[in-house]
Structures are given as C-alpha cells and as structure tokens.
C-alpha cells in the first residue's frame, strides 16, 4: 500500500479516533489517504488551533492527541502547541509534511527545518528517510508520547516518501533501548518515605499534574485520607484531589490560598507527587519551605532535585508509588491524632484568610463572581478550559474541581489562545460532557478562528469571555510593580464579540447584570451549538491573594 495508507492503518491500530489538521502542498498525499482511510479528521482554521485541540483532547480523555500540518508555515504554526505540550507533559503526536527529498536543504517552496526547529521542544522526533520506516515510527511515536512522562512527538514525512509503496504490518515489538522509563518506584525508598511521613508532625502533600497524567487520583485520595494529610495541588494538578474536601487546602503558589502557602512554609515534611517545584510555586527558592524535608516522587528523574534537593527521591509514576506507599504506611499503624495540632494551625489560617473578594454594590459583575456563577450554573460538573491570565487564576481559585481531567489550561508555557481550541478538542473527545472555556478578551482573539470549526462541525463549546477590556494580568503587574504606568494593555471594546460569534455561525450573548448572571449562564449552556458569551466584568480588579514575584510565601498580599 502507499505509505500514507500505512499512516492511516498505524493511527487506527493505535486507537486514534480523531485527527485535527489542515492540508497543504507537502501533505497532499496524506490528505488523499484520509478520503477512504477510516480516520475522522477535523479541519481546523489555523494549525495552532489544531495543535491545541489535540492537547485539549488528550488532557480530557487521557489518550494521545493527534495533529497534522503541512510543511513550512504549517509546521511552524505548530511550534506553540508543541512547546506547550512539552511544558505541560501532554501526549500528542504531530505529523508534518515536508518538501520532496530532492528539495531538502535547497530552501524550496514551503521548506522549513521542522525537525531542527522543534528539537528543543519535543520529547522525541522522527525524520522519515525511507518510507519503510513509517509504520515503526508511528508506533514508536505513540509509545513514547504516552509512556513515562508524556510529551509531544513529531514525525516529519517528505512528500515523495509518503507516496512510496510499502508493506504495512502493525509493529507490536517497540524496541527503544535508550528509553526505559522507571514507573514502579524503589521499594526501599518508598518504605523510607512511609517512615518519614509517619514521623512528621507537620506534613503536606503537594500534588501536581503528574498525578493526573498517571490517572492516580484515586490512589492520591486513598493515601491522603488513610491519615489526615493536608493536600494542596498545583495549577496543573487541580481536580486530582476533589475540592471541596476537609483535607483540601486549595491551590498553592503565586495566587494560591494562604492556608496552602503557609502550610508549605511551616511544614516539616513535604511529599511532592508529580510536581516540579516550578518558580510559580516556590517563589523565592532560598526561602521556600525552610523547615521542610522533601520526598519527591516523579516519573522523570531529571525533575528530582532540579530546583529543590530531595531527601527521599523516588523515581516512578504516581499511580504505582502511591499504591505502594499506602501499603507501607498502613503497616506502620500511625495514630492520626498526632496531626491534631497541625490541623488546628491550618484551620486557623483557613478561618482567618478564606478566599474572598469585595462584591459590587450595584449590578456590576465582579470577575470572581462570574466564576462562582458559572460553577453554580454548571453544578461544578463541566470540563473547563482557560487561556492565560487573571481569568485563569480566578477560575483556578473559585471553580472547585471535583475530579481530574476537568481543568484544562496552559500552565508551563502560559499560552494565550489555548482555551478555545482546547475546549474544542475536549468536546470532541468527551461528547457527552459540557465543555466551557473561560477566556480573556485578549487571549480569546488569538485562536478565535476555531469558532468556525466548532460551528461547521457542531462542536457545542460554551465560551465565557471575561471581558474587562484589558490585558488584565499585565495591567495588574504594571499597577502594582511599575508605578501604575499602563503601557499597551488597554484593548478597548474591540471587537464586538456578539457579532463576531454570529459571523462565525455561533450564538453570541452579552451579560452585564450580576443579578441574573446564574440564570443567564444556564441559558447559554442550554443553547445548542457553540455559544460565545461576552461577560462584562469590573475593569480594574486584581487577582489576590498574591506572592509578589521573587518573594517568600509568608509575604503574601491581598
């Protein structure tokens, strides 16, 4: 068969049910194979939209997402999604077309060194040099993308090679001698960790996206509740531990709760699970958790002791390690009453510093209230995606995620324009669930073109734009740290989002009154097809609480 037909067979053998992509000259043969290939393809309007949709699909379903693009500009438009997938460990296979082999290196039409450009931002990549390599490359790519610490894998296929005649046989014996992820965790180290946890007076479990990736939420809850361990999650880990819950401290880090940050600050033992001590979590590194010893569980050994030296390092995935840790810990027969004093201290913080904001006296919608209203209207059951900025932080703070894979956002790279296409991908992957995107009025325009894709394919995402007419987070920083001199953050009332939605074939709405907001949100959700809601919120509201950049958790403000 043609090599491109083998691509289709490979995708099917890997269980791929949808591909997001856009055709062009160099992948014409591949698109010909889609005609009778038996693989669903959704035509996006910009390759970045396709890449983020594949990420949203992967994050919502736990399966590998797939995005296609042509050579040159098609491939370079994928750079942001590839890098985003790398930073947030999202399993996505990207397949790009390349110019004919005889044109390689000649600066041919739509030629770009896709492999070279993407080397720093992929988990691995393949440049096809012989069409017979394609089946193995496909299967190896999927294996690498989903195993160990998940990540993006790229396959670049020159146009002439994709037309080659080859035999296809599914590859079942993936042999990668240089890639053998450790998932089990060292038993001795796990026993050490259990003993340290049993001896701790002020322990905190600090869980990240690794728990979600390993589908280890149940194990986390079971372990945390086998004693009374306080739990905090990173932005990427939200939902891994159900909120609200008596042992849930809220998110930690720059815009986390005081209870979570103060608990980290006073802890004597921190058990990090699938989290990487990002600077948005630690603040000033030298003053981060000054009294604590660290257990660090991660499937990627390079994360352990990268930023904070671990006292008990455990290389393994969260699912295996937490299950074993539970057995070891139970065997020690620890008295949960010993954490009484610690909980009293934490309860004190919770009572004194609950998350809160000053509501408006009139009909004005405060952005925090917008999230509360959305929570109420969706009963907390929606999959929620977001872009990056104030609206993202408020969603993380005020939407209590009860389960993993409900909160889909761009954490590491902080990509504006992520939310809308990610919602599209999540909705395609989970057609029975309500998918909402909370977007910023700045961010949403960076991939608004995918509304056309949603309208054409009847992908019923509900986009709630938190519209304050500013690039809000930048404005906040200019206000707080740059003497209130606003430099290029005012976006005004452009565009008219209701008209924009309608032009794309979606339903447009505008909400301005807090009194009817919950009912209005319900109305938007009940409307068929894609809906875009322009929610007018307070223009200058700041995201609090906040650890000013480069400071310690104790110095939280707001």
């Amino acid at each position: 068969m043609r090599a491109v037909d083998a691509v289709m067979e490979g995708l099917k053998a890997e269980g791929v049910d949808v591909v997001f992509g856009l055709p062009g000259g160099a992948n014409l043969p591949t698109y010909d194979a889609f005609v009778n290939g038996g693989v669903r393809h959704i035509l996006v309007r910009h390759e970045a939209g396709g890449g983020h949709a594949a990420q949203g699909y992967a994050k919502a379903t736990g399966k590998v997402g797939v995005a296609f693009a042509t050579s040159g500009p098609g491939a370079t438009n994928l750079i942001t999604p590839i890098c985003d997938a790398m930073m947030d460990s999202v399993p996505v296979v990207f397949i790009t077309g390349q110019v004919r082999t005889e044109l390689l290196g000649t600066d041919g039409f739509q030629e770009a060194d896709t492999l070279g450009i993407t080397i720093p931002i992929v988990k691995h990549s393949f440049m096809i040099q012989d069409p017979r390599e394609i089946p193995r490359a496909i299967h190896e790519a999927f294996y690498i993308a989903r195993s160990g610490r998940p990540g993006p894998v790229l396959i670049d296929i020159p146009q002439d090679l994709s037309r080659g005649e080859i035999e296809y046989e599914p590859v079942t014996d993936v042999r990668l001698p240089g890639y053998q992820p450790t998932t089990e965790g060292n038993q001795k180290q796990i026993r050490q960790a259990a003993k340290a946890l049993a001896a701790a007076q002020r322990p905190v479990i600090y869980a990240g996206g690794g728990v979600v990736n390993a589908n280890a939420s149940e194990e986390l809850v079971e372990f945390a509740t086998c004693d009374r361990f306080p739990v905090t999650c990173t932005l990427m880990g939200l939902g891994a531990f159900p909120a609200p819950h008596p042992q849930w401290l809220g998110m930690l880090g720059m815009h986390g709760t005081r209870a979570a940050n103060y608990a980290m600050d006073e802890a004597d033992l921190i058990c990090a699970v699938g989290a990487r001590f990002d600077d948005r979590v630690t603040g000033k590194l030298s003053e981060f958790a000054p009294h604590a010893k660290f257990i660090h569980i991660d499937v990627d050994p390079a994360e352990i002791s990268k930023n904070i030296p671990a006292h008990i390092p455990i290389v393994g995935d969260a699912k295996h390690v937490l299950a074993k840790l539970l057995v070891e810990y139970r065997a020690l027969g620890v008295d949960p009453a010993r954490l009484g004093a610690w909980w009293e201290r934490i309860e004190g913080w919770r009572e004194k510093y609950p998350l809160g904001f000053e509501d408006s006296a009139d009909s004005e919608i405060k952005p925090q209230y917008m999230i509360q209203a959305l929570y109420e209207a969706t009963k907390g059951e929606a999959i929620v995606t977001s872009d990056v900025g104030q609206h993202q932080m408020w969603t993380a703070q005020y939407y209590d995620f009860p389960a993993p894979r409900r909160w889909i956002n761009s954490g590491g790279l902080g990509t504006m324009g992520f939310g809308l296409p990610a919602a599209m991908g999540a909705a395609v992957g989970c057609p029975d669930r309500l998918v909402c995107c909370v977007a910023g009025d700045g961010s949403v325009q960076m991939n608004a073109q995918e509304l056309a894709t949603c309208a054409q394919n009847d992908i019923p995402i509900k986009v709630f734009i938190m519209n304050n007419g500013y690039l809000g987070m930048v404005r906040q920083w200019q206000e707080l740290f740059w003497d209130g001199k606003y430099s290029h953050v005012d976006t005004g009332e452009f565009p008219d989002f209701v008209k924009l939605a309608e032009a794309y074939g979606a339903t447009g709405m505008r909400f301005t009154d807090k009194a009817t907001l919950v009912a209005d949100c319900k109305r938007a959700i009940a409307t068929d097809g894609p809906v875009v809601v322009d929610v007018r919120v307070t223009r200058e509201e700041n995201t609090y609480p906040m650890i000013p950049a480069g400071q310690a958790a104790r110095e939280m403000v707001g």
Binding site: I119, H124, M127, L176, G178, K306, N307, L480, A549, G550
Partner: protein
Amino acid sequence: MSVMGEPGTKEPLSLEELQASTGLRTGRKHVLSILVENKSGVLTRIAGLFARRGFNIDTLTVGPTDDEQISRVTLTVDGALHPIDQVTKQLHKLINVLKIRDLEPSDTVTRELALFKVSAEGAQRGELMQIAEIFRGKVVDVTKRSVIVEVTGTTEKIEAFEGMVRPFGLIEMMRTGEIAISRGRSET
C-alpha cells in the same frame, strides 16, 4: 535578592546576581562518555540540549564503535560551572542516548591529538625539534620556514607543549578534543 528575570523586578540586576544559579557544582572537569544510536540528528539533539540548558561543552569528539549502529560521544564539561547531575539526567532523557558514564579521572585514560604549525627558521629548528622529542612529538612536515609537530597526550601535556612552542611563533594549532577509556578489564 530578587528572582532573575521576573517582570516584577524593576531594579537592574548585578552581574553576580545574573551569574548566581542553582544546582550542585563539583568544581572539577568531567569527562562524559556517551553511547548513542547512530542516527541522523543525534549530535544536534545533544548539542541543542547543552545550548538550551546553558551548559557549555569544552571539548567534543564523536566516533564509531565496534558496533556500526552505535557511536560514541566523548565530551568534557566544567563541573565548576554546571550541575553535572542535571547534565547527565537531561542527556538520559534523549531517546537516542543509550548509556552515559561520568568517568572517574583516576580510573580513566584520556588522550588528545594535536597538530602544531610553528615558524622555525635556521637555528630555531633544532631547538624546536628537541622540545618535540621531549614531549614524544613527531615532526610530520617541514618547510624552510615552518614545522608541523604532532603531539598526543592528556590535555595538560598538550597545553604544556603549546606553552613551550608559543615563543617560537605558533602559526596555528589543531586539537581533536579528548577521548577517554576506563582502566581495567570492564567496558567503558
């Protein structure tokens, strides 16, 4: 002190602050012997990784092994500047990297080859040849105005020889970078 590069820090950063970074430093030179799959782009991946993480490679050599599907990369890194532990862990993440050894200096034989083109006219030539002999160097080319000397040895020896011939007028010098093999029966 503020965190480097935070948009919230308005104050200019001092050079010391810019140079301060985290990670364990061993303070000595490290020779990493790396077995890689002989596939296109592998060297780019390794070099790119070093560049992206801000690690500087001092010397780099690549050559075949007895298995044609596997190549060996030998590179030296300054452990005073870079956290070697992070370097090797990041290298391990490359799918094409099969094995890495951070060679113990006392258990390792290292060699480098260098060619020195030195101006040598008349009486100077004899003296130069004597020095070459002391260093067990080989004269591989002679003209009326210059001599090329081949020297093999450790980096220290090469550098010592360089110091000796520089006063004669070093026209140019070519060095291969180090290769290394572990002492004793076991494989590197």
